[in-house]
Amino acid sequence: MALFARTPLAPLEYSRTLWMRAWVGLVMLFLYAPLIVLMIFSFNDSKRNVVWRGFTTKYYEKALGNDVLVEALVNSLTIAALATIASLILGAVAAVMLWRFRFPLKGAVDGTISLPIIVPEICMGVAFLIFFAKWLEWPTDLIWPFNLGAIIIAHITFCFPFVTMVVRSRLASFNREQEEAAKDLGAGEWGVFRDVLIPHMKPALVAGALLSFTLSLDDFVITYFTSGPDTITFPVKVYSMVRFSVTPEVNAASTLLILLTIVLTAVALKLQGVKAIAETH
């Protein structure tokens, strides 16, 4: 990768030009300013997140000692992780189908697959409520994590179209000659898929995974309508607090989650080696 030689500034090093750095810096400020406020208020000595009333760390102790809060976070992360994996597979496969094949009613199939993005949350929530509770009589007293089943299914349904959209846009730049070449060299369908197509899709898969994870982690309405007893998730907990205002405990938990993510990412990058990670992109 000679392009990224240290000095001098090569023409393609957009990320090292001043205006680009300033722009990214400003966007990051825009993205993180509210987060900094959120973190500051996790130390607020008040029951609510509204006016600064002095410094305390008691909400961190409370958050860590709060079993329900921790359970809610674990539930949310489990749902998000499982829904992301399934959405990635389903979404990528659907994208390959739409990109590669011509088949009857393709327009209708294309439209239907994209629809979960447009259906208003509450409408989809009600649809799942009737579907699971009234039609399937889905049991609500299973052990963890099977009691999250209905929620995960619902999350996959609204996450995978996002993956499909992103992957499809990526596939548009795929050079089919590579596929032909691989086939000429004797690779089978699966081999081509694994060795040629997936590496090409990788940035889109990363983007799709990040989107799915985010969407799933943050969903309240659909989760609420598909949940049974003893399945509190983090958003459900937060929304239920609104009537009496959200306590700094939630800020403390969020701050810990952010720090944990950063630490885990740093560790993962260290372990796998910076190079290996970068090459996958």
């Binding site: 992360l77 489990t78 049991p139 052990i143 459900v236 609104v242």
Partner: protein
């Protein structure tokens, strides 16, 4: 479903939760699974030692559920909902397995009519004697057949003392005057808004007609430029932050805010207002009805009620609990407004014909 039986049998919840949770996300939280249940253990009343409670978050004493477990052995799982509307919507598809729920008065009426609630056996709830007699015979549930009161509230005007010229003792300042233009926040709940306007016009909150809705819509559209925000029941926060100075809110919410800022006060306007009460009910199909009765009885206990009230600071209908509270609570005119004003306040009845009209009219007001 055989799979379910299989899954339901192998419920060593604690270890599974831990193993799967840790494996699934690679994060190990301490005390993650401190919620193993009293498996298979039967109480003397023949029910397993469990209870599923459906409530708002932070709407209970900090140790109430643990204390209940200590005294009865019943493990309470508290799940959370965010509004009466979503509670009702969810129960439209049947009870997903809850034993005790906390709907407000008009939703008690709705749920009774929709056949979602189970009659209460008063013999199993001796602590009913602690409830203020004026809360026993109420329009929305005569004789308390289906519900027992948990808290009650009244709508009024919360305001910042240093920013108003005189006590805003009439709905006029919110509804029909440019005096505090740009510093007013209304509630975004269409029904409440129309009923309170009705109150301002001297009508009962339950006597509005479609013609009244027309008149009131016109008044609202006229006043709208003076209003800054239709808030989602977070008026106390707007007041605390200084974004607005006069706000339509519940007394309990303002009382909580007053603890943090003594420049804030609350008044029930002289025209009268609307009452609201959250209640404890047992939905049809509750898996542990006896535990549910025991739990409701426990919640109405004097000492327990006191602890709950200390946390949530809402007005309590539990006289015995109130008696145990300090004077700063008992004699607080915000939490317990004067009796002559309260006499002019009413509970809103659920009206299924008018509700969609309120909504459509309010959508029009917002769009204009």
């Amino acid at each position: 479903m055989d799979l379910n039986e299989l899954l339901a049998q192998g419920r060593n919840r604690r270890s599974l939760l831990q193993a799967m949770g840790v494996a699934a996300i690679g994060i190990s939280f301490g005390g993650l699974a401190a919620c193993s249940k009293g498996e298979g253990k039967k109480l003397s009343n023949g029910e397993e030692a469990k209870l599923n409670f459906y409530n708002w978050d932070t709407y209970i004493g900090e140790t109430t559920l643990d204390d209940f477990k200590k005294s009865t052995g019943v493990e309470v799982t508290m799940d959370l909902f965010d509004s009466n509307d979503t509670l009702f919507a969810k129960f439209k598809a049947g009870n997903p397995g809850y034993d005790v729920i906390v709907p407000s008065n008009d939703f008690v009426e709705r749920m009774v009519r929709a056949d979602m609630l189970q009659p209460l056996d008063h013999a199993q709830i001796p602590n009913i004697k602690n409830v203020d007699p004026s809360f026993i015979n109420v329009d929305y549930d005569p004789g308390r057949k289906f519900s027992l009161p948990y808290t009650w509230l009244v709508l009024g005007i919360g305001y910042r003392k240093s920013k108003v010229k005189a006590k805003p003792d009439s709905w006029k300042v919110l509804f029909d005057s440019p005096e505090y233009a740009g510093r007013i926040a209304w509630l975004s709940e269409a029904g409440d808004m129309f009923r309170l306007y009705g109150k301002y016009l001297g009508k009962s909150v339950n006597a509005l007609t479609p013609a009244d809705i027309e008149t009131i819509s016109a008044m609202m559209i006229k006043q709208k430029p003076n209003v800054k925000k239709f808030h989602e029941d977070d008026g106390q926060d707007l007041l605390l932050k200084g974004d607005v100075d006069v706000v339509l809110e519940y007394n309990g919410d303002i009382a909580q805010a007053m603890v943090e800022d003594d420049d804030i006060d609350f008044i029930v306007p002289k025209e009268g207002s609307q009452l609201n009460s959250d209640t404890l009910c047992i939905p049809k199909g509750a898996p542990h009805p006896k535990n549910a009765h025991a739990f409701i009885n426990y919640m109405l206990d004097a000492e327990v009620g006191k602890k709950i009230t200390e946390t949530i600071l809402y007005p309590t209908p539990n006289l015995a609990a109130k008696a145990l509270m300090p004077d700063t609570y008992k004699n607080n005119p915000v939490i317990f407004p004067p009796a002559d004003i309260l006499a002019k306040c009413e509970y809103a009845k659920f009206n299924e014909k008018l509700q969609p009209l309120y909504e459509e009219a309010f959508t029009k007001v917002r769009a204009s």
